[in-house]
């Protein structure tokens, strides 16, 4: 572990923090330039101009934009996510509950899909251009070619309605026993797995096949190692960086891209929460959700880069 490595990692972390601030500005500006007036939409078309003006003053909407931005930012940094306009409740606890559900679903989808895709990728390389390789490629491609909502409905129709193994509505609540919680998320987790599997599997396959062209793979072959040993010991460690990158992108999708899946399965996660409040024009909630999604995305990409840096022996063990 050398100083240049720490410097690289430090740089990458600093960059992510800067990026996050830039995104917060974008989100804030974006929600400000939306047409219409929040006070108006809360009170409805029938409200008197006085009532609207009062509410505007009460919500602080008359302050200049930058004052409101820093107010919001300061609140976020001190853990105060503000108050939802639609029901007057603090946003923090509501989001915490939803985020927990989303992360729970994402975690189990990831726990299944990441090892599965990497193992499938390794098997595909082992049987390159053979029947097994083509079967794996074709079936994962078929899965990714279908839109995620369509896979969701297919699973609901066959597994929930026809076979009756799982319920079509993934309701979870506080204090639900672990096992029934797992049963509840089985279908959305399966849907997510099918959606993210192909990309990770194909990247694993491509990255390893790329490394298989190297001279050191030939060296390993000329030592009499078997193909599986070569793939696992000599090719895989050198293919980690691109695989990590695509794994992290898919992890990010599992957290921030699941809006449609949550709506289909009526799962009380972040996505549904966001969609509900967009419909209600609840700007503070939308801003907070947007920023959390951005933070997850940026954070995971940062981790991907850091792991890639760490996986490079030249940087880990400088001359």
């Amino acid at each position: 572990m050398g100083a240049p490595l720490l410097k690289l990692v430090g740089k990458r972390i600093g960059l992510s923090i800067g990026l996050l601030f830039a995104v917060s500005v974008l989100i804030f500006v974006g929600t400000q330039i939306l047409p219409g007036d929040v006070a108006q939409s809360i009170l409805g078309q029938a409200a008197t101009p006085e009532a609207v003006a009062n509410l505007r003053a009460q919500l602080g909407l008359n302050d200049p934009a930058y004052v409101r931005y820093f107010h919001w930012l300061f609140g976020l940094l001190t853990g105060n996510l503000g108050t939802a306009l639609s029901n007057g409740l603090p946003i923090g606890p509501a989001i915490a509950e939803r985020l927990k559900n989303t992360l729970f679903l994402a975690f189990w989808a990831a726990a299944v899909s990441i090892p599965l895709s990497i193992i499938l990728g390794l098997i595909a390389v082992r049987h390159k251009n053979g029947f097994i390789d083509k079967l794996i490629s074709a079936s994962t491609l078929a899965a990714i070619s279908l839109p995620d909502f369509f896979i969701g409905y297919l699973l609901i129709y066959f597994v929930a309605v026809k076979l009756g193994w799982f319920t079509s509505v993934s309701t979870v609540y506080d204090g639900m026993p672990f096992l029934s919680r797992m049963v509840a998320i089985a279908l959305p987790a399966l849907t997510l797995t099918l959606v993210v599997l192909a990309q990770m599997m194909r990247m694993t396959r491509a990255a390893i096949l790329n490394v298989m062209q190297s001279a050191y793979v030939e060296t390993a072959e000329l030592k009499g190692l078997s193909r599986s040993e070569i793939i696992w010991r000599h090719a895989f460690p050198n293919a980690v960086a691109p695989i990590i990158n695509v794994v992290m992108l898919n992890l990010a999708y599992l957290v921030v891209g699941v809006v449609v899946i949550e709506v289909i399965f009526v799962y009380p996660g972040m996505g549904q929460y966001l969609v509900d409040h967009v419909a209600k024009r609840d700007v503070p909630v939308v801003q907070d959700c947007g920023l959390i999604f951005a933070a997850v995305y940026i954070g995971l990409n940062m981790l991907a880069d850091i792991f890639s840096i760490l996986s490079n022996p030249r940087l880990r063990h400088p001359k």
């Binding site: 190297s214 001279a215 060296t219 000329l222 009499g224 190692l225 022996p313």
Partner: protein, 555 residues
């Protein structure tokens, strides 16, 4: 039981390897044509006794690596063994199938590649890779294998043999890696090692160390070896017998003395007498290019690679810049062309001072100073025909188009001794030497006063390189063009230079007319450089190692 015995190695016979009537074919896919079958090795028989070293020599495409690898049942890039037998330790290994190959690879036969830097896995420590084959084949326990590896590191005179195994490949220099690879091949106590151009990619000063280490290791362990190279002088130092190959066929086989002293075939004779171009040194004249006190650095001045360099070259003459890799020769070219603007000093050309930065130079500055590169393939656009490639500078600098341009292209093709028929060909359809000729024609098309030649013959076979050098000398007489000739090959320098600059660690350590630079007394580095060039003499290696005054930088 009987079958198992049939496939088991039998070490009682004196003959270790007996390749009989080997035929190897491959399918090639030429651009724009149907795939076709080519014969890479045609009816070659090789016999090797235990503990002996056979040199396989020939130019690229002679099939020497393919024959070497056939002893391990391995074919690169889809080549197929279609005929003959490969009898190793008393049984035909071609009958053993994939699992039979896996059992003998790394156990009975080991391989040392040309580029050890690429042949080691960057993700693992050296020790793990060195002992891998021993563990895989159950030759010894981990502790024993590590002990043997350390002993072998000592044997090939690696520095710090106890701990070098803990390093990663990128932490070790190229010459050292080549020796680690030799130790790796020896670690599982094989009967045969295939050395595939193990010193070709190294500097001449490092090559001699590695060669000495390989020779000592072979002698001390008693292993047999196939030593593959295109350099007769190198193979003469290590081999007992030599087989000369050409186009996949045997030309001649004999003991080393007979091959280098009394070759029976014309082709062998050509190989032995290569690189002797008579070249009369020209008298010093007024300089066309003078590089004055140039200092250049990478990384914003942090890494100085050129230190106060001053050289001159006169019109129609050749300045050779020699030195090992990292000595700053190519950087000097980059400083002259403005690709790397010098921090200090100036470059004067034809009576004017050139702007330091390439972007500030006029079109005429660019035209008069052309460059030819080592890798002709990557210096040409693969999607342009030869005619387009050569015609481009004619259009760009002289505004000639249509028939006029075609006429000039034809003239240039004629100058480089290639017919007009080549105008419609693509680079992929040319041989290595032809590609380099096209690059020369492209440089000449600009009617330059100076051409910088950066290792232009290093990637070519000796005979082909010889042709290129002769061409360059003829063109110099016809066009009165000056050359700055960057090379690490001293034989080339003797053939074409009028003056020589020897570079070492960014500085010019010796500079003057050829006759003075190559005459004693020498400084330590020039002496090392000159004495490291392999000579086609038996016992040269031992003599050279004994009389050295300075360690090579790669050590």
């Amino acid at each position: 039981m009987a079958r198992a015995a049939k496939n088991a190695p039998d070490r009682t016979s004196d003959t270790l390897l007996d390749i009989r009537n080997l035929r190897i074919e491959a399918t090639v896919y030429p651009p724009g044509e149907d795939p076709k079958n080519v014969v890479i090795v045609d009816d070659v028989s090789v016999k090797l006794e235990r503990g002996k070293v056979l040199g396989l020599i020939g130019e690229s495409g002679a099939g020497k690596s393919t024959i070497g690898l056939s002893s391990m049942g391995y074919g690169r890039g889809g080549v197929r063994i279609t005929g003959g037998e490969v009898i190793l330790n008393g049984r035909d290994i071609l009958k053993g199938g994939p699992s039979g190959f896996r059992k003998l690879r790394g156990r009975e036969v080991c391989y040392v590649a040309q580029s050890a830097a690429a042949a080691f896995n960057p993700a693992h420590r050296l020790m793990r890779q060195v002992i891998e084959a021993s563990l895989k084949h159950g030759v010894s326990s981990r502790a024993e294998a590590e002990k043997r590896a350390i002993a072998l590191f000592k044997e090939v005179s690696l520095p710090d043999p106890e701990h070098i195994g803990n390093r990663y490949p990128h932490q070790v220099s190229g010459g050292q890696l080549q020796r680690v690879m030799t130790a790796m091949a020896l670690c599982s106590k094989p009967d045969l090692i295939v050395f595939d151009e193990p010193t070709t990619a190294l500097d001449v000063t490092t090559q001699i160390d590695v060669l000495a280490a390989i020779k000592k290791a072979i002698r001390d362990t008693g292993v047999a070896a196939l030593y593959i190279t295109h350099d007769l002088a190198v193979v003469a130092q290590v081999a007992d017998d030599i087989m000369v190959l050409r186009h996949g066929k045997k030309v001649e086989k004999g003991d080393t003395h007979q091959i280098i002293k009394e070759p029976r075939q014309a082709y062998t004779n050509a190989l032995v007498s290569v690189h002797s171009i008579p070249h009369e040194e020209q008298k010093p004249a007024a300089p066309l290019l003078s590089v004055k006190n140039v200092t250049a650095a990478y990384g914003g001045g942090t890494v100085k690679v050129l230190k106060n360099v001053s050289v001159e070259v006169a019109a129609g003459q050749t300045l050779a810049v020699v030195g090992e890799s990292g000595s700053g020769k190519s950087t000097l070219a980059r400083a002259i062309t403005g690709l790397l603007p010098p921090m200090e000093g100036s470059v004067e050309f034809d009576g004017r001072t050139l702007p330091k930065r390439l972007a500030d130079r006029t079109k005429n500055d660019l035209r008069e100073l052309q460059m030819i590169y080592q890798m002709a393939d990557v210096a040409m656009n693969p999607r342009q025909t030869v005619g387009t490639i050569i015609g481009r500078p004619i259009e760009f600098y002289f505004g000639k188009r249509g028939r006029e341009r075609d006429r000039m292209v034809a003239e240039l093709l004629d100058k480089i001794e290639m017919g007009t028929g080549f105008g419609d060909r693509y680079p992929a359809e040319l041989s290595g030497g032809q590609k380099q000729r096209v690059c020369i024609a492209r440089a000449l098309a600009a009617k330059p006063k100076l051409i910088i030649c950066d290792e232009v013959t290093s990637a070519l076979d000796p005979l082909v390189a010889n042709g290129i050098l002769k061409l360059l000398l003829n063109l110099q007489k016809e066009e009165n063009v000056a050359y700055v000739f960057i090379t690490h090959d001293l034989a080339t320098v003797k053939s074409i230079a009028d003056s020589i600059a020897v570079m070492y660690q960014g500085s010019v350590v010796r500079y003057g007319p050829k006759s003075k630079v190559l005459a004693p007394p020498f400084d330590a580095y020039t002496d090392l450089l000159l004495s490291s060039v392999p000579e086609m003499e038996l016992g040269w290696l031992e003599k050279a190692m004994a009389s050295r005054r300075m360690e090579a930088a790669g050590n």
